[in-house]
């Protein structure tokens, strides 16, 4: 069943690539099929474990825990929505790549074998690279190259950790890459620290975290908004996913050892990303930089390593995915109307496009953590754990909320309020297709804002053993 979940979008990618007639419809059909199978797996999905590359100790092993379920759900929901939202901007190549990206993305969330995780982790880059390079702004080729160089650099460092695990594992007996087997290994302190550093660099590039975030702004500026949704809302989550599952899960002692450094980097990301976002004129770049700030908070929650912090981070990953996807898509709709992403060339659009303005405000306030919208709960949990860790850290992290309010509201003010410009071509409000894309996202934002229970109960059992291990280590 879990293999099917990966194979459907993969087959869809191949079929879309060669289908001469209505490829986009085919792609959308496959995305819907993935959504259906994804929902079914929420309820029933036996683990898969087959021998794959035996001499290397690699298993084709897939499993789905609560954390994985949330990420899978986020992925399978976002992909079809994005496909509908972006139908005018892309040709069939993009659709085929999007399905391939979905397949590999799902595989990372399902992998119970580190080698499989790594293969999927790296394989996502190929579709992402082509999606950035083939559609988007004038400097997209350069942005795609920068994206790929950063990501592959991180990936190769992760390969070092992967080989390190193989060496330790084969010294202990038969080599195995099953994450459950690796967790039992007795790794020496030095080796553990090296492995941690290698893994953390890779995930920090992916997540992204200061100072390896510089690809993010360029990529989101040059790529189409739909590509950015897939990159920032799904792909980048693999970074924080890996931090929880692999850094905390496999080398907890080294994680505790590195926490002070990580916390400082996370704080810099939080404040720096928000401050940069405030000063941006390019709307897509602005949204990309807000994500830098948000990923800082997620990382902070992970490494504060309390129960609240971890659950909050997991929730944050889901909520950020939904809210930022909405932001990118709304920005995309706006840009397709104005023909530019420059905020200074837009003003007073509130009158002409009340629905667009309204959805922008709701999604924007969600990213700023307004109570009643989904991100609030996760943000509070992360901040509580930050205060638990050290009061000063908490104080600095809280500034993120103030700064977020500034960049959201100021952007809103610049774009939508003020006197309407006397444009020869009136700007139309959202049409039915666009509203249809946004409604599920906004509903999710509101629903999980008031009823975060299901998310918390999905994430808690995953967090429990991690917290136990870490507290036992301290």
């Amino acid at each position: 069943m879990l293999s099917i979940l990966v194979l459907i979008p993969f087959a869809g990618a191949l079929i879309t690539a060669v289908m001469p007639a209505r490829p986009k419809l085919w792609a959308f059909g496959f995305a819907l099929a993935t959504l259906l199978v994804g929902i079914v797996t929420m309820f029933t999905a036996p683990d898969t474990d087959l021998a794959w590359m035996k001499p290397l100790g690699v298993h084709w092993a897939l499993e789905l825990d609560g954390f994985g379920k949330l990420m899978v759900l986020l992925t399978v929901v976002l992909v079809p929505l994005v496909m509908v939202a972006a139908v005018k901007d892309h040709d069939k190549r993009w659709y085929a790549w999007a399905l391939a990206l979905e397949a590999f993305g799902l595989l990372t969330f399902l992998a119970a074998d580190l080698f499989v995780f790594y293969i999927a982790f790296e394989a996502t880059l190929i579709p992402a690279y082509f999606m950035i390079g083939q559609h988007g702004g004038p400097k997209r080729a350069k942005a795609a190259l920068k994206f790929l160089m950063f990501q592959l650099g991180g990936g190769l460092v992760l390969l070092g950790a992967l080989i390190g695990f193989f060496v330790v594992s084969s010294e202990a007996g038969t080599p195995s890459y099953l994450i459950s087997d690796l967790a039992q290994l007795d790794i020496g302190t030095t080796a553990q620290r090296w492995i941690f550093v290698a893994m953390f660099i890779a995930f920090a590039v992916k997540a992204p975290l200061f100072p390896v975030h510089t690809w993010l702004a360029d990529t989101t500026e040059q790529a189409t908004p739909a590509t950015s949704v897939l990159l920032v809302c799904i792909l980048d989550k693999i970074g924080t996913f890996g931090m929880i599952r692999l850094c905390l899960g496999l080398v907890p002692e080294a994680s505790a050892w590195a926490t002070p450094v990580v916390v400082v980097l996370a704080l810099i990301s939080i404040v720096y990303g928000a401050v940069l976002a405030i000063g941006q004129d390019d709307l897509l770049r602005l949204i990309g930089l807000t994500s830098l700030s948000h990923f800082g908070l997620i990382t902070l929650g992970i490494f504060a390593a309390t129960r609240e912090g971890l659950v909050g981070s997991i929730l944050y990953m889901v909520n950020h995915g939904v809210a930022t996807a909405a932001m990118f898509l709304i920005a995309g709709f706006l840009i397709s109307r104005k023909g530019t992403a420059s905020i200074s060339s837009m003003r007073g659009l509130e009158k002409a496009t009340p629905v667009l303005a309204g959805t922008f405000l709701v999604a924007g306030l969600a990213t700023a953590g307004l109570p009643g919208l989904s991100q609030f709960v996760s943000e509070i949990m992360v901040l509580i754990s930050a205060f638990d860790y050290h009061w000063l850290i908490g104080v600095i992290a809280v500034t993120a909320i103030v700064l977020a309010a500034i960049y959201v509201l100021w952007a809103y003010q610049r774009i939508f309020t003020g006197p309407a410009e006397s444009s020869p071509r009136p700007v139309k409000d959202l049409d039915r297709r666009e509203v249809g894309v946004l409604v599920p996202l906004l509903v999710a934002l509101l629903f999980f804002g008031f009823v975060p229970g299901p998310l918390i109960s999905a994430a808690s059992p995953v967090v429990e053993p991690l917290v136990n291990v870490i507290q036992a280590g301290e």
């Binding site: 794959w52 590359m53 035996k54 001499p55 290397l56 790594y118 293969i119 999927a120 790296e122 394989a123 880059l125 190929i126 690279y129 082509f130 390079g133 083939q134 997209r140 080729a141 795609a144 190259l145 790929l148 160089m149 592959l152 650099g153 190769l156 460092v157 390969l159 070092g160 992967l162 080989i163 390190g164 193989f166 060496v167 084969s170 080599p175």
Partner: protein
Amino acid sequence: MFESPGISYATLWPVLLVLGVACAGVVVEAFAPRAARFNAQVSLASAGLVAALAGTVAVGAGSGLGSSTGEGALVIDGPGVFSQGLVLLVSLGGVALFAERRLDNGVSVFAGQAAALPGTPAERTASQRGLEHTEVYPLMMFAVGGMMLFCISGDLLMLFVALEVLSLPLYLLTGLARRRRLLSQEAALKYFLLGAFSSGIFLYGLALVYGFAGTMSLAEIGAAAENDGSSPLLLLGIGLMAVGLLFKTGAVPFHSWTPDVYQGAPTPVTAWMSAATKIAAFAAMLRLFYVAFGSEGDIWRPAIGVVAVLTMLLGASFAIVQTDVKRMLGYSAVAHTGFLLTGLLGAVRDDAFGSTQAVLFYLTAYGFATLGAFAIVSLLRGPNGEVGSLDRWAGLGRTNPWVAGAFAVFLLSMAGLPLTAGFIGKWGVFAAALSAGQWPVVGVAIVSSIIAIFFYVRMIMLMFFNDPSDDAATVVAPSYATTAVIAVSAFATVLLGVIPGPVLNLLMDAGGFIG
């Protein structure tokens, strides 16, 4: 009293067959009418290679595995037979590329008459008469025979003889390009001169090692070295022999011929040579270092480590600044030599995944990728023959998505991305080296991989994200043989990346080198 050595024809006949085919090719060249030669040579060569391949598989599966013959001069062991099979497989692709006649208006890429000087009336006459150089097939067969011997040489003398048998035809083949003949001949001269020097150095080292051990047999040298490892005669010998082999594989600082020869040689020759020579040279190098000098690992590992580090860094950095595809792939081949040397440094294991297995798998992955990549290079043409200049490859993804796609697969494999054979290969050599505690070298290997990715990806970017330029190269439709080579290489590259299990198992079952 002199007794003639016993020779096990049951295990050696594939090699003898290939050498026999080479001799038969010479006879055909001498007696067959000119019109019939091309077909006769191509079918003779390919039939010989197919039969030899089948024979190698049979030997590998038969009871002869693990024996030595010819008084220990030839060793039939798993890694040796595996690399022989690999050489044959790549050479089969090589013959298909050699026989390509559709790309250049019905003539092959080889000079019509090698003796006719470039730019002379004699050359013009040769090309007007549509002469073809069909000697290339017997030459190639001699080289293949030499490579097969090189893979299974169990003593020093055989090693040297095989080295010369494989090298001399390569020097000639390099100089036979139909177009840009001066470039080709210059490359051949450079290759020959440097190759002759390196052979001399190799021979000198060989003599010193013989002087130390008093025997030619690798196994007996290994035993002698274990007793007295610090003899200066031995150490100097190891060093000089290493230089000879490092030259063949194109390792820094003995790499300077590589880009020139890769660029100057006719592209089918480059394609085949870059894959096959590397396989044979590394097979021999593994055997020499593990069997004869295995006990001296503490001494040669650091030295080879330094060479590996320099080779990876220089190869990758110089590849970035190249503007010609063949030169870029040439420097990339240098970088790959560095990765292979990293694998050589690792721990040797007969029963688990170790250096031997890692290096041989890497050679498999690299062999297919480089054969396919150069085959594609031969397809892109302008008015004056092949187009190597990078900027004229721009936009290929738009105009010829299949060709560009296949090339991208080869580049991604060379870059070591998952789901391609190159990734498993890279993982393997790094893992082998790290198991032996060679983490500084592995660290450099990771850094140079990142550098190398840059130029592979830039090439992909050029093909897929740029618009075609006005003087863009056109893709000439090749014959079925070339198409098959490209398709099979691309298929193998992806298959070995997704399901490497069977080949890995084969390597695990093959066991280690024996003396």
